[in-house]
Amino acid sequence: MKTYNFKIKRFNPSEESSPQWQEFSVQMDPMERLLDGLIKIKDNSDGTLTFRRSCAHGICGSCAMKINGKNGLACQTLIKNMPERITIEPLAAYPVIKDLVVDMTQFFMKSEEVLPYLINAETPPERERLQSKDEQQKILESITCIMCGSCTSSCPTYWSDKEYLGPAALLKAYRFIFDSRDRAFDERLGRIIHAQGLWRCHSIYNCVEACPKEIDITGHITELKRLAVKNFFKRNK
């Protein structure tokens, strides 16, 4: 057991005018997760501390927050890898509802703009549609996204332009555009090729650093950019 100092940014906008920092010291076993620490605080010191959590092993995307200046999942951060003083804030760029809980409505809406579902109006075969291993490989990384919001929240372009689609939505677009079974290529591409879409990405790579699933988001976006350019020249030939 070792004592850690949790410095947490607290804010309940309905009752307070500005955020306050509050510190807690917590006894932690080295095997425990940061999330366990937050739960201990909630259970033992201050029941009003508010955060989201569900799966506790990095697959549901509930517990993304800014930990020592970097976005990550509380349930995937082992305490033994942390310094004794830990600063915890809500994800940036989304409105705070309470403490570490942010309003992600806008974030989810962005993904809806890219038609995030498989579209294929052809009569399906009796059995599964065939897809080669290579074709599956193409979308493999993009389907691991858990929509935790870490990426978009870390993107300076998104900070300055809330109309920007953001990395998560572009990744979603990639997931369907490169799915060999999808047939809405043109329409979906049309929905991302605009000033607030694909071309707003300036290859800053913060999203890649932030992604707790280690998805190469910028790489995927770059591939979309190349596709868009190729497509443009094909059209105008």
């Binding site: 800014k66 020592n68 200046g69 970097k70 976005n71 940036a92 760029a93 870390s154 300076p156 900070w159 300036h202 290859s203 800053i204 790579y205 913060n206 890649v208 650093e209 190469d216 910028t218 790489g219 770059t222 950019k225 190349r226």
Partner: protein
């Protein structure tokens, strides 16, 4: 909104700042070029070049150009398909070679005063 500064975002910031600075410089540059039509003014400006402050400015200009162009090359390479895991390495390569070229390039400029 503060987020930990990392190679990628640092590079992006340099690119932005150097871009803006170079754009502003271009306008001054064009204005001074107009003095080529007037020998007296030209001589006056040429003398200005011996001023140590201007020399530092010139070195600074070199730095901006190197930073902007090298990072620009880095971005083009990444756009062309160099994998993301290389982005930091590319940044450091750009910084290092840029640094060396700056050093070599600024020697003749600053050599007289240092």
């Amino acid at each position: 909104m503060r987020y930990r500064l990392r190679a990628g975002s640092f590079a992006w910031m340099i690119q932005r700042i150097s871009g803006v600075a170079l754009t502003i410089y271009i306008f001054f540059h064009l204005y001074y070029l107009s003095s080529l039509r007037d020998p007296v003014k030209f001589e006056l400006l040429r003398k200005l070049l011996d001023d140590p402050f201007v020399k530092f400015g010139e070195a600074g200009l070199l730095l901006l150009v190197i930073a902007h162009s090298f990072n620009g090359i880095r971005l083009i390479l990444l756009d062309m398909g160099v994998p993301t895991r290389m982005q930091k390495t590319l940044f450091f390569i750009a910084a290092l070679t840029g640094g060396i070229i700056f050093f070599i390039g600024s020697w003749p400029i600053l050599g007289g005063i240092l």
